[in-house]
């Protein structure tokens, strides 16, 4: 520093600080920022206009198209996109799966191999899925992160979408912690339940092909017996184990406490199309841990939640073999009911930093966590959602649906608490 004038030193310092400030945004660009739900993200896709028209025309097909993806100044080329969804597929506002590794096996974006652009066509409030996943995580079960985004295709706004973290090995590694050897738990067998019929864990016989409704998403090239054999054995145990051995034997395949917890959270959210869905099981992944027979449900696609405030707390439990026999054991039924109460408390938890009294010192009724989150996201996306001309519902229906969510957030907890107490009195 000797010989350096104060002015020159000052200039250098300013340049260094400026350089640091300039590089900060790049350093901050991470998966966490991508799924930051305190801001609306902006995603830009560039593809050939004929491909975009073809994708919309063939929206029922899983045809991939080459695309360039841009987010916050980062552009990834050689990305594949395709139409996705089941009932949500739309030619006007297609839901999209974005695969970084479709054309180049090793390519990732912020560490992700893929993510989903949910078109929000089945949820008039646009908030159900995002709020459900946040609630699962709040109660300690893994669920994909989500954030809202303006989607531009070839510089044209094509609607408000939800960015949804894909359930893949990266997600498993982040969500499930360490395996038995201290490594990342993501090398087991991942299955996506592919809804095709009214199925509720009945035993389908020893033919493993019957179990391929659980679509293998990892280790697909292994032998069928390796992939689906333990699953068939689990379903057999669920159906055929005598009552007095059920806990011991089926616990080899499922952590029954987590099963009860998953079912309870789905129920609190009045999920009508989940594991206990109206037309059979739907909308979940199943993960079998490394070097183990044990499996766990993973929440997925929760846009049919918030069905009604008075959604029966024991709805369809008797129709699903696993749910019926698990909750038939008092230990797990108790855990189920306790989780419902946890959920009610969590949903109604006031902001710990908010004043509990008004300026006159009188106690005030503070909004719970769920209501606050609905309002926070509603305020964030309202103008954007109203400007989305591609959504298959009008703005009045959007506002009405938001009001329905707020009513649910305010009233569901009380209903659940009352009925848990009633259930315990039986």
């Amino acid at each position: 520093m000797k010989g350096l004038s104060a002015a020159a030193f000052g200039v250098r310092a300013v340049l260094i600080i400026a350089a640091l400030l300039i590089t900060r945004p790049a350093a901050a660009q991470s998966m966490e920022e991508f799924f930051d739900d305190t801001a609306v993200q902006e995603i830009r896709l560039t593809l050939n206009s004929k491909d975009w028209e073809s994708l919309k025309q063939n929206y029922k097909e899983n045809i991939y198209y080459p695309t360039a993806l841009a987010w916050k100044g980062v552009t990834v080329r050689n990305v594949g996109i395709r139409s996705r969804g089941l009932g949500s597929r739309s030619p006007r506002k297609p839901g999209l799966r974005v695969d970084m590794d479709y054309y180049t096996a090793s390519q990732t974006f912020l560490g992700m191999k893929s993510f989903v652009l949910d078109n929000l066509t089945q949820d008039r409030s646009m908030l159900r899925e995002w709020l459900s996943m946040a609630f699962f995580r709040r109660l300690g079960l893994p669920a994909p992160r989500e954030a809202f985004a303006r989607l531009f295709v070839n510089d044209t706004f094509v609607g408000v979408y939800a960015l949804v973290e894909a359930i893949d090995k990266a997600y498993l590694g982040r969500s499930l912690g360490q395996d038995n050897h201290g490594g990342t738990e993501n090398d087991g067998y991942l299955f996506e339940y592919g809804y095709i019929k009214n199925y509720r864990f009945e035993y389908l016989g020893s033919n493993l092909n019957e179990y391929k409704i659980f679509k293998a998403k990892t280790r697909e090239k292994e032998a069928d017996a390796q992939i689906w054999g333990p699953l068939e054995a689990a379903v057999k145990a669920i159906n055929e184990t005598p009552d007095n051995n059920f806990n011991r034997d089926v616990s080899d395949y499922f952590d029954l406490s987590k099963v009860a917890r998953h079912l309870a959270i789905e129920n609190f959210l009045a999920e009508d199309d989940g594991v206990l869905g109206y037309a059979g099981m739907n909308n979940f992944y199943l993960y079998r841990f490394e070097d183990s027979k044990k499996m766990q449900f993973l929440a997925w696609d929760k846009d049919n939640t918030f069905h009604s405030v008075d959604f029966d707390i024991m709805k369809r439990i008797s129709e699903n073999v696993l749910a019926k026999r698990t909750l038939g054991l008092s230990q797990y039924k108790n855990e189920y009911l306790n989780t419902l109460l946890d959920a009610a408390a969590s949903a109604m938890e006031p902001d710990p930093e908010a004043d509990k009294n008004d300026k006159n010192g009188k106690p005030v009724s503070l909004p719970g966590w769920m209501e606050r989150e609905i309002l926070r996201q509603y305020n964030l996306i309202r103008s954007l959602a109203r400007s989305d001309e591609f959504k298959p519902y009008n703005n009045d229906e959007f506002e009405e649906s938001i009001q329905g969510l707020l009513t649910f957030a305010r009233e569901r907890a009380a209903y659940v608490k009352d009925h848990v107490a009633e259930e315990r009195r039986r």
Binding site: L47, N48, K50, P66
Partner: protein, 415 residues
């Protein structure tokens, strides 16, 4: 065992009449009525593919590859015709179907379905080829047959032969006859209004000496290329796609040149072909992309060990089998390459996606070694061993290696 079955087939197909009358040649059956003449022809190929071949490099086993029957002839002196059908092909059974008006030797006019005049290898009948399969470029970069009209003739004392014409599409070699990965199926050929021309020069035709048998050819085509996933596709000898089609649109242009030299029992032939597909507005955001380049070459040589001349000799061996001889034996070798890339990078890294500006190149390099046994003028057996090397391991048909062998034995019978 399978080889033994093949050999048995060879013996069964040998014409017995040939044994009875060794000195007599057998012209194809022919019928004449005044100014009308019909010649009947029949040709068959039975292949056994095996050796080191592995799925999906090549399916193993017997294949009744071709069963062609044809009639050809003249109506009066000036009008030639040909009708050629492959009984094994349900989708496109007709091969050559044309009329040729030959009143003026310097300017004959031909119309119908026949080969677009491009590529020496493609224009040489597969029944006269020295190898089981044509070269990669002759099979895949050359157009093949199409419907059109052509003017052709001989000039300068037969030292110049020219062919030039208009064709409805781009030949049947570039049609996609199988479903593509992305469910895109071509109902209509994607190239229209192809103009093609070829000139063959035999400058020393009228002289004596080794130069006499030298022939040089150049050819080119140009056609209108529809927008779509219609780019050239690269396949191995066994049919595995090592280069998937790209989105193209604009014009498809070809250029090629070749040389053939057949001194005595030897032959040397070389050819280079290049296909350029434009990609107007085919990029992301509808930008123009650098052209797709498909190009390749081969160098091949043969030697008739039994001494027959290559040109007009080896197919009629001096000592046919069952006529006191063992037939004619020829050895053959071919070195070839076919590669795919883009004409520029577009400022991007190389990728494999079908709209990549900078296409990640891939190449198939093959060496074919063959022994051809000409039993008599009707039958021959070809033994070929092909070693291929794919440049990009990811697009190789075998997961663990880029080099592989394919072996083919072909029994050919024709009259």
């Amino acid at each position: 065992m399978r080889l033994a079955v093949l050999c048995a087939c060879v013996l069964m197909l040998l014409p017995r009449a040939a044994a009875a009358q060794p000195e007599v040649r057998f012209p194809p059956p022919s019928f004449r009525a005044g100014e009308f003449r019909i010649d009947f022809r029949a040709r068959f190929h039975l292949d056994f593919r095996g050796l080191d071949a592995e799925e999906p490099v090549a399916p193993e086993g017997f294949v009744f590859r071709r069963a062609r029957v044809a009639i050809e002839g003249r109506i009066y002196d000036d009008l030639e015709y040909e009708l050629d059908r492959d009984l094994r092909d349900d989708k496109r059974p007709w091969r050559d179907v044309f009329l040729n008006y030959r009143k003026f030797r310097a300017a004959e006019v031909q119309g119908g379905k026949f080969k677009v005049p491009f590529s020496l290898d493609q224009l040489t009948s597969v029944f006269s080829n020295s190898f089981v399969s044509r070269s990669l470029i002759g099979t895949q970069l050359a157009p093949g047959r199409d419907r059109g009209v052509m003017v052709h003739g001989r000039l300068a004392g037969d030292r110049v032969r020219y062919r030039g014409g208009w064709f409805k599409h781009d030949g049947d070699n570039t049609l996609f006859t199988e479903e593509l990965e992305q469910n895109e199926f071509v109902e209509e050929p994607p190239v229209n209004n192809t103009i093609a021309g070829r000139v063959d020069l035999t400058p020393w035709e009228q002289t004596k000496g080794l130069r006499r048998r030298l022939q040089i050819g150049i050819n080119a085509t140009s056609g209108e290329l529809d927008d779509g996933l219609f780019g050239m596709r690269g396949r191995t000898v066994g049919g595995y796609t090592f280069f998937a089609p790209m989105y193209v649109g604009g014009r498809r242009m070809r250029f090629g040149m070749d040389g053939l030299w057949t001194p005595g029992p030897f032959s040397v032939v070389a050819e280079y072909n290049r296909v350029t597909d434009q990609r107007n507005r085919q990029g992301l955001g509808d930008v123009d992309l650098p052209d797709v380049i498909a190009e390749g070459w081969y160098l091949a040589g043969t030697w008739a060990l039994t001494g027959e001349r290559k040109s007009g000799g080896i197919d009629r061996p001096r000592h046919p089998i069952f006529q006191g001889g063992a037939g004619g034996v020829e050895i053959a070798a071919r070195f070839e390459e076919m590669r795919f890339s883009s004409a520029g990078t577009g400022g991007e890294d190389p990728f494999t996606n079908p709209r990549a500006a900078n296409i990640l190149p891939n190449r198939d390099r093959a060496i074919t070694l063959g022994v051809n046994w000409y039993l008599n003028e009707f039958a021959r057996v070809l033994f070929n061993a092909v070693r291929e090397t794919i440049q990009d391991p990811v697009r190789s048909p075998l997961a663990d290696r880029t080099r592989f062998w394919t072996g083919v034995v072909r029994l050919q019978f024709g009259m």
